[in-house]
Amino acid sequence: MTIQDILQTILNSLPMIGRYALVTMGIVLIFRTTATTNFAQGLIATVGTFAVTWAALEWTALPLWVCLLLGMVVAFVIGMLVDVALIRRARHITPSGKQMITMGVMMILVNVTPVIFNSLVIYNTQGRSFSQGIHQFVFLGMNFNITEMGLLGFIMAAVLLSATFAALKYTKWGLGVRATAANETVAQMLGVNTRVITAFSWALAGALATVGGFFTGAGAPLSVTLMGNAQVFGFLACVLGGFGSFPAPILGAVIIPLVYNFAGNTSIMGPNAGMWQNAVTFLVVLLLILIFPNGILGKKYIRKV
């Protein structure tokens, strides 16, 4: 295994890092504001991605980025609806109960999506993508390549996440989110409109994840299991980084794709690497979590008796 090989593997992880970071950001936003582990996150993103593809194929004259925006709006609305109609009314229910509600949403979305976007599922339709090309460049005298779509996805994720973090830090909404995350009741008493905060967090989570879904699915046949892995790895990223703060889970979302791509590298893991790629990744991540039970950046949680 040469240095070039290592660098190329890291480069290959970039698109995945972007996608997972977007999904993870949504999960942590929702978890921090409404104490819900959202199992429907991946599915909301999937519906958004279906909407993007449908719009791109139906209205071929429309630029793709407009379609992407449309899909984001769809997921935005679904996310907001889930909060307004269900989670907001389930405040008194235990975390497992809320988890169950999102699971119910997941069950409904899994079954409704193929019915609504019937034509996309039946014909194994491929969506449009921004580019099919592969970008090649020379760095320190070594040749590297990365798909242009993946690079674009990573850049887009970086921009969107930076914008989200800036919003969290500098806007009134961000202050409200941080206050709600710290203590919802007190935030309410101090005049924060937590209903708007949580609804917008859910909506934003859906929209961000849709971008992740689009870059996962663009140029490949769509299925409702599109975001299955992203969903599970998103949760694990949150636990690995630490649920305690907003940036920490992103660290988890950077580590997991790196592990995944190194686990799939045939020159390290042998010829059957692809077969066991998922299992090895889960194993490594679980071991890391056991070493850092509070998350890598998490603080030790001291319980009051």
Partner: protein, 386 residues
């Protein structure tokens, strides 16, 4: 004359009905009577319906273990699918590839592996708590899913693991069975005895029916066992731990012991149920054991009311049983299976949102409403009391 009030002595039947096991036995009798009806040739009891009930029973066994974990110990796990799958595949592998192992040994192997797994997860639960634990067990389950898919020699991969004969009831049809492995002459001699033939050499349909009856007995037995354990000092210690682990520790309850025990219960029940699944359905594919399955078990237990065993059974009936038992024969639902799943999803959401106590709470509401109605009627018929 003493001014004491003598209550009317309760009749034996009333007392028996009030016994906590009455409900379990009632469910058992209902399930048995369906099979009896089918044997007697009642047309409305289809074999797909009985298979549906069998799957509900198998999954409810998983549910009882999970009840212990969630309802008593307050720990959440999303690794159920992996644990059940492991039991199923171990049973499948041993029955298919190692026919000299007796059936009891197969069950024992599934249970033993589950014990190892339960201890491991129990130790993890000491380090990681709450929803994080659930996510970690979810990851564990995903590892098992990959194993089920990729370890071809053990699981036959995505083609699915299958066995050809029912264990126990078709023992004599297997020339390499453990009995033959011990003593081939004895095996052929015993296989000629008519009485033993009737039990151990059944036709496929009879074997399935017998296994169904066995499954009913096991389900009811495990319900009683779980109920008793819940009412014992173990169950009370776990309840204390659920409410406050620090207070429980201060009272001398060992977290290590009871967390391990809770996970052991859940993994053993899951592994055992997996072996039962394999024995009854004779087939299992990795797609059975995705995250959806774990979530479904959690949903079934929550719908039931998380500490109530009859509730758990009914929850499993709603989550796993609606399709094969009731809706498959209605053409509209058969052609539009998505409607069923949406219905189940909606039921889960509605029950969790409006009856957080589960079906038990719903039942109590009904009882209350009925009592109020009865009181109103009394008032109407007999007039107001003086």
């Amino acid at each position: 004359m003493q001014n004491t009030f003598h209550a009317k002595p309760e009749s034996a039947i009333r007392r028996a009905l009030k016994h906590p096991f009455a409900g379990f036995i009632f469910i058992g009798i209902l399930l048995l009577s369906l099979q009896v009806l089918s044997i007697m040739g009642a047309g409305f009891v289809k074999s797909s319906m009985l298979n549906g009930f069998a799957s509900v029973m198998v999954y409810s066994i998983v549910g009882y273990g999970f009840t212990f974990l969630l309802g008593y110990a307050g720990l959440a796990s999303l690794g159920t699918a992996g644990f059940v799958g492991l039991g199923a595949y171990i049973a499948g592998y041993l029955i298919r590839e190692q026919p000299q192992v007796p059936y009891l040994g197969v069950i024992l192997a599934a249970v033993l592996v589950s014990v190892v797994l339960g201890v491991a997860v129990g130790f993890i639960s000491l380090r990681i708590e709450g929803i994080f634990l659930a996510i970690v067990t979810l990851g564990l389950s995903e590892i098992f899913y990959q194993i089920f898919n990729n370890w071809l020699g053990f699981t036959n991969g995505s083609m699915g693991s299958s066995i050809s004969k029912y264990p126990i009831f078709q023992l004599f049809q297997n020339p390499d069975s453990w009995l033959a492995a011990i003593d081939r002459d004895l095996f052929s001699k015993l296989a000629q005895v008519p009485f033993l033939q009737a039990i151990f050499d059944m036709k496929t349909i009879d074997a399935r029916r017998s296994f169904y009856i066995l499954l009913v007995l096991i389900t009811v037995g495990l319900m009683m066992l779980t109920y008793n354990l819940g009412k014992s000092s173990t169950g009370r210690a776990m309840l204390a731990m659920k409410n406050s682990s620090s207070a429980a520790q201060a009272m001398g309850i060992s977290l290590l012991k009871y967390r391990l025990l809770a996970f052991l219960m859940s993994t053993i029940f899951a592994g055992f149920a997996g072996a039962m699944f394999m024995s009854y359905f004779k087939f299992s594919t990795p797609t059975n054991y995705t995250i959806i399955f774990s979530l479904n078990i959690l949903a079934a237990v929550l719908i039931g009311g998380s500490k109530n065993l009859i509730g758990t059974f009914l929850g499993c009936l709603i989550v796993f049983g609606l399709t094969p038992i009731f809706l498959q024969d209605i053409p509209f639902f058969r052609d539009n299976s998505w409607v069923i799943n949406i219905t189940i999803g909606s039921i889960i959401i509605l029950i969790v949102m409006f009856y957080p106590g589960g079906l038990v709470q719903l039942g109590q509401r009904f009882k209350q409403a009925f009592r109020q109605l009865a009181a109103k009627r009394r008032l109407y018929v007999y007039g107001e009391e003086d």
